[in-house]
């Protein structure tokens, strides 16, 4: 039971809500917030990224990066992490940390410069707890066995932190790979499930999901291109170049092989059904 101290009860007036809904249906999306909020003023117009400050031209040494990483690790409760460091752009580091990341094309120079910021991606293994994470009320601190840090190469500022989930770890790629294959990859997400009887397309015959089993991606000529594992809930995510692929699992000898089409910057989902007879 969440403590309720201030009960402002902001939504008692149904007429008011109806009036707001009516107003919103008339105005365009960009004006809708003002209309719904009952205010005539708008937020400032210039993009916050237009004034992106290019970092100074000095670059931190590897020792300085390691020192920052150790400090962050200690704050997360791990005094003896294993540390590996790679370099790239902020955009590629985000993709490396979370393969499901899709970053938009932008024509704004400030935003382009921001995503191109040279960074070090530090990957540490240990036992981490981020007490100082941004969290919702009532949620305990994020935990994980891998702590990723994205550190601005010039200023030493920590631009990103992550404790990837098991599925993200299974699908993640080293930063060097993301740099070389960045050009408009797509993502295959999906699940592996099993049940009695013949395998079916769709979920209706599936009795349970299959955690920690192999997922295989092949070319249309059945050449194995890569494998990954499902997470604890039987889910997987794979970042890959655009193209036509076959996706299956080795959970049993009787798993469906699904054909998927991966398009640049898009996510395609598929469900691999396996029969246990």
């Amino acid at each position: 039971m969440r403590p309720v101290i201030i009960k402002t009860v902001l939504a008692r007036n149904r007429r008011l809500i109806l009036a707001v809904l009516a107003a919103c249906s008339i105005v365009g999306a960009s004006q809708a917030l003002s209309a719904s909020a009952g205010t005539s003023s708008s937020p400032p117009n210039p993009s916050p990224f237009a004034a992106y400050l290019t970092p100074p031209a000095t670059t931190l040494s590897p020792e300085e990066i390691v020192a920052i990483a150790r400090s962050e690790s200690a704050r997360a409760g791990e005094l003896n992490p294993t540390i590996s460091i790679s370099k790239g752009s902020f955009e590629n580091a985000m993709r490396s940390v979370d393969p499901s990341t899709i970053i938009p094309e932008t024509s704004e120079p400030g935003e382009q410069a921001m995503f191109a910021t040279p960074v070090s991606l530090v990957v540490m293994h240990g036992a981490f707890t981020l007490q100082d994470a941004h969290v919702r009320h009532g949620v305990k601190a994020p935990i994980g066995s891998v702590l990723d840090l994205i550190i601005d190469e010039h200023t030493g500022a920590v631009m990103g932190r992550a404790l990837p989930s098991p599925s993200d770890l299974a699908a993640s790629l080293p930063l060097a790979s993301t740099s070389s294959t960045k050009a408009k990859d797509g993502i295959i997400v999906g699940s592996v499930g099993a049940g009695g009887g013949p395998p079916h397309r769709g979920r209706y015959r599936i009795k349970w999901s299959v955690p920690h089993t192999a997922v295989v991606v092949m070319s249309l000529k059945h050449v194995i291109l890569l494998t990954t594992m499902t997470d604890g809930k039987g889910l997987f995510s794979i970042r890959i170049r655009p193209g036509h692929y076959l996706v299956t699992s080795t959970f049993t000898n009787d798993c469906l092989t699904n054909r998927v089409v991966v398009r640049p910057g898009k996510i395609v989902s598929t469900h691999v059904s396996c029969s246990i007879k």
Binding site: I5, I6, T8, V9, L10, A11, I17, V20, L21, C24, A29, L33, S36, A37, G38, T39, P43, P44, P48, F49, A51, L53, R75, M94, D98, S100, T101, I102, I103, P104, E111, T117, T129, Q131, D132, A133, H134, V135, R136, H137, V139, K140, A141, P142, T155, A157, V158, M159, G160, R161, A162, L163, S165, S167, D168, V189, K233, L235, I267, S269
Partner: protein, 259 residues
């Protein structure tokens, strides 16, 4: 005479022993933990403090395709920013099935600056059976100074489970967490989050809306009510305040401050 000298030496030894004991004791004693909010707010996972409004989507089928938040930060000072303290003025969008969420807003502190606002985003895939967030990520634009009044949006624009975050109208990233983040969300909150051992200064207001399944922007509420909360409990309420936004009194809009 001899007895007197021995006695003085003895007293001296006793004094030095006492001094040593007191030094050792003071060095090993646990220092009193700094806190505020009558002990409820300090730098610990269980002691983040909040003032926020929440739309409780209790009616069947109630869900949203996205939401927007305009925080207007009028006061911000995080004295212990160098220790990692921070204050966020922000919005959360969540999924009751997995208890995963996305959040977006502007912050001060976090080892950067006492008072300058920077935009940030964060998310977690889900909450595990122990209550911990799993699959957590956060990104902060340290080189971008946020306006005091800014527009933030979280939306699944294609209604396919890929959730995107926008700062002003700049799309900054999208993520999909199949199995954890559904096509529509059914939890919305907005307000301030504080992580600090000493009481910071923060004041401002917010205006919010939500994005309906058809893409229309509407005021919070729908069929369910919107309430304001102070978290974690009564003591924090003595030093965090929240009230309806007098200049824009619609569901979810609010004024908040350290008080």
């Amino acid at each position: 005479m001899t007895r007197t000298r021995w006695s003085s030496r003895h007293v001296l030894i006793l004094l030095l022993s006492g001094l040593a004991i007191s030094v050792v004791t003071s060095a090993t004693a646990t220092p009193a933990r700094a806190s505020w909010g009558k002990g409820e707010c300090y730098e610990s996972e269980s002691a983040h403090c909040y003032a926020y409004t929440e739309w409780e989507m209790t009616h069947a089928g109630e869900s949203v395709k996205g939401a927007e938040d305009i925080p207007d930060t009028t006061l911000m000072d995080v004295p212990e920013y160098a220790n990692g303290s921070f204050v966020d003025d922000e919005m959360w969008l969540g999924f009751s099935s997995s208890e995963g969420w996305l959040e977006i807003g502007q912050e001060a502190g976090s080892n950067k600056s006492c008072c300058t606002l920077h935009p940030f985003i964060a998310h977690a895939e889900y909450r595990n059976s122990s209550g911990h967030a799993i699959g957590y990520e956060e990104y902060t634009w340290n080189e971008v100074d946020a306006e005091p009044r800014n527009l933030y949006r979280i939306e699944d624009p294609s209604a396919n489970g890929t959730w995107c975050e926008y700062i002003w109208n700049n799309l900054v990233d999208c993520h999909a967490k199949p199995g954890y983040w559904s096509t529509y969300a059914n939890e919305l909150e907005a307000g301030m989050e504080v992580y600090a051992n000493s009481k910071p200064t923060n004041a401002g207001s917010q205006e919010v809306d939500y994005i309906a399944h058809g893409g229309e922007h509407r005021a919070w509420g729908g069929a369910s009510e919107v309430h304001g909360y102070i978290s974690p409990g009564p003591n924090a309420a003595h030093e965090l305040c929240e009230s309806p936004n007098k200049k824009s009194n619609y569901p979810g809009n609010a004024e908040w401050s350290t008080c």
